[in-house]
Symmetry: C2
Subunit: 478 residues, 2 copies
């Protein structure tokens, strides 16, 4: 394990140098985060399809649990139980609009992970970084359990457990546990735990802060930065359920589903489930006794249990939807916890938006009207009055303050932006696909169907134990 | 599948050009040899240990079922259900004696497979080719079911089912079904089916020819070169037994064994088995209700069923030992078929040599004395008198003709050479290992223990279906 320990020290040194805070002991973030004894036993994998550009380069790294697709390079990094996709990497020649500047990609975009320690961390990609349109960069960064790096190049960052950085660029930031940031360019910021921040500088800003009591109950870190609370208990209680899936060379998918839908071999499907048309169920999604209506999708690390999705329902990475009924087009944000009970179901109408990092933990049956924006912490029907607003109402305003949410600026732009993004997600996932209609093109659900998986295992002994050899995978026909 | 078909045509053209026989339709050898529909589903794998030099290069090829270790390059080839090892590749700086010439390797030896179609074929390696000491070359060659290429560079050859080329160099040869050749340099030869030929030019020659009736029963090819008979029935009846092994990501090994022994995760162990010290059970070995005494080894594609090995017993690739008791140090050659029955067991004494491609198919209990050389076709105890001879007896002679065997020349050199080779195999496999004795060094059984496996799967759709991307795997520290 000598080289693996050296590698971890190397990453700690790089992150420390970036953060420029001599008083901060970065090593405490990575200590005890991976089981060193058994680490070499876990395997990672990369996917091949004939629809996605292909290029993998792995150097001096430890890869386990990881899923790669598209074009990815990893160097001097520990990437553990991550799900890194690459199905939205832009292709050479694409013209992107970066704040008004039209930039043409001179080569295919690729994901680059260097000098980083990513543990149980998802890295989806839809980059908006004008400085690196060809490279989605993750550099000198530590990201911890169930955090999400999404569309956000990061450099010199620590992303604490269950935190999300989304559609931003982050330099030298510490993003606290269960914080959510969507904020353009962030540099040298410290984001408090449980802070939800959506900024479009000069246009609008949205802020919500979970209370210390809520954080104490749902997600708290001890003095060694180890997380505990309801969220960890929920995930830990189910993590062994995936073992049979990862112990099979070609896992069976125990549900029937239409040809237009994709259910990953590495998802977990249990009990009585129904899958509609144009549905996407990603690897590490957990679906139990639930119905996913047409066009719905279950992203990585989400849990959908005893629930009913009418259709076109997006569950973002890490979203948890338990004992709930969701109307057509209703969205569940990153790491949201929509937790109904058998006798206290949560019913959300159609075309609603559950903000990222929202907690609905039902003490009684809860109903939320069509077209609502939902945030914060909801336990009773009475909380719905304070912690929701009609999207059509808030979009008329320039300042809105209610139930802890402070929203300022062009809120119509905020609402439209959110709606636009949900449409983008649905389109990318193939929710509208129709083989007979050239305008309703294939998305991830259709393009990923012929996927094959190659496993990557580390050296099992010697000084290099836990690290992988140097690997370079390129297309058969360049 | 377009490119896979193109690739097969390419190999056929290369082999045809080598064989220089315009009347021969080489394509009939490869037609229908692989299940084109399901071919892309199968995966190959390569092994990583910290004890073996590492380098893999796979280009424009289809790899399935294949096991690679060490240094291997594959280009423009179909390699299907092969077991190619690389644990006897020589290292840079080694001095080899090639017929008296001392040659120093200027780089690590590697296996090179190009323009070839290898189906269910084992390629072990212990090369004796003075022309290519750094490269074990398989070029423009077709090798069919259960054939063995062992220590034999081949160029422009067709190796028919259950044929073995051993410790030779073969150029532009057709080696018939169930033929065995060990013959130095072979060029432009046609080896008849069932011919066992061991030549050391100028020193000795050994010849045996199985009768047409025996071949008809045990292994015959139809007009499309498809094999049938007792051998195929035996193997086909057991091939599905391996499916659970290959369907698991980390197959369990259902037997206890000492730390000094190696049992491959990809072997099949069934029933009540006992494994002694310093034992090596390779991938695709099939061991059922048997005891493998100290220092024994079960090579790829062998079957050991209801049998007892006293110790130091080598079962060469494809050897089948059923209802048999083998004394200490007794050797079973390539593709030999030692088939006792419950009430007609085969008992072979100690220090015997069952020649490659021998058939013992017991109609009654058969006993063979210590120190025997065994060949040909044996069905009764009476046959033992004609088809065995004491090694100590034959080694005194310069011409020996009995039971179809014609042996001429320095037969002491033949017997000593065989004994020397068996010792080499035992040493290489670690049969004599003793951690406390520096002269009893580790072999394959000990050096392969920390093995990890990476899988290689082909594209699952599109024109490239069934072919693998370009892959290059190199050591983490060069």
């Amino acid at each position: 394990m000598k080289e693996l320990n050296n590698l971890i020290e190397h990453v700690v040194a790089r992150v420390s140098a970036n953060l420029r805070d001599p008083g901060l002991d970065v090593s405490q973030y990575v200590r005890n985060q991976i089981p060193m004894d058994s680490h070499a036993m876990y395997y990672g994998f990369y996917a091949l399809t004939h629809q996605h550009p292909l290029s993998f380069s792995f150097k001096h790294s430890s890869l386990a649990g990881t899923y790669f697709l598209g074009k990815t390079e990893v160097e001097l990094s520990v990437v553990y139980k991550c799900d890194i996709r690459g199905d939205e990497l832009k292709r050479k020649g694409t013209v992107v609009d970066m704040h008004g500047a039209k930039l043409r990609l001179f080569q295919d975009e690729r994901i680059s992970i260097r000098h980083s320690f990513l543990v149980k961390t998802l890295v989806h990609n839809n980059s908006h970084d004008p400085e690196n349109v060809e490279i989605f960069k993750i550099l000198n960064t530590i990201a911890l359990q169930y955090s999400n790096i999404h569309g956000t190049p990061v450099e010199g960052c620590i992303i604490e457990p269950f935190a999300t950085v989304d559609l931003s660029s982050c330099h030298n930031c510490i993003v606290g546990a269960f914080a959510y940031v969507q904020g353009g360019e962030l540099s040298g910021r410290r984001i408090e735990p449980g802070h939800i921040l959506i900024e479009n500088p000069g246009v609008f800003s949205i802020n919500y802060q979970h209370s210390p009591e809520v954080l104490e109950k749902y997600l708290t870190l001890d003095e060694n930065h180890r997380p505990s609370g309801v969220f960890m208990d929920f995930c830990e209680a189910r993590k062994h359920d995936f073992e049979p899936v990862y112990n099979a060379a070609q896992p069976e998918i125990p549900v029937e589903f239409p040809d237009t839908s994709f259910v990953s071999h590495y998802s977990l499907i249990r009990g009585d489930c129904a899958i509609g048309n144009n549905v996407m169920v990603c690897q590490r999604a957990y679906v139990e006794n639930s119905r996913l209506g047409d066009g719905s999708n279950a992203q990585e690390n989400c849990y959908i249990i005893n629930s009913n999705y009418e259709g076109m329902n997006v569950t973002a990475h890490g979203g948890k939807v338990i004992n709930a009924d969701l109307g057509q087009g209703t969205f569940t944000g990153f790491n949201s916890f929509v937790y109904g009970r058998e006798k206290a179901r949560v019913t959300i109408g159609k075309d609603c938006v559950t903000m990222p990092h929202t907690i609905i933990d039902a003490e009684e049956p809860i109903g939320i009207p069509d077209g609502s924006l939902i945030w914060g912490y909801i336990r009773t029907q009475a909380d719905v009055a304070t912690n929701t607003v009609l999207l059509s109402e808030i979009s008329k305003q320039t300042r809105f303050e209610q139930g802890g949410l402070v929203a300022e600026g062009d809120l119509a732009a905020f609402v439209e932006g959110f709606a636009h993004r949900i449409q983008h997600i649905l389109e990318e996932n193939g929710a509208y696909f129709d083989a007979g209609d050239p305008d309703r093109t294939a998305g991830h659900a259709q393009k990923t169907q012929d996927v094959g998986y190659n496993t990557v295992q580390a050296y099992m002994g010697g000084d290099l134990k836990g690290l992988c050899p140097t690997m370079r995978i390129e297309p058969l026909i360049p």
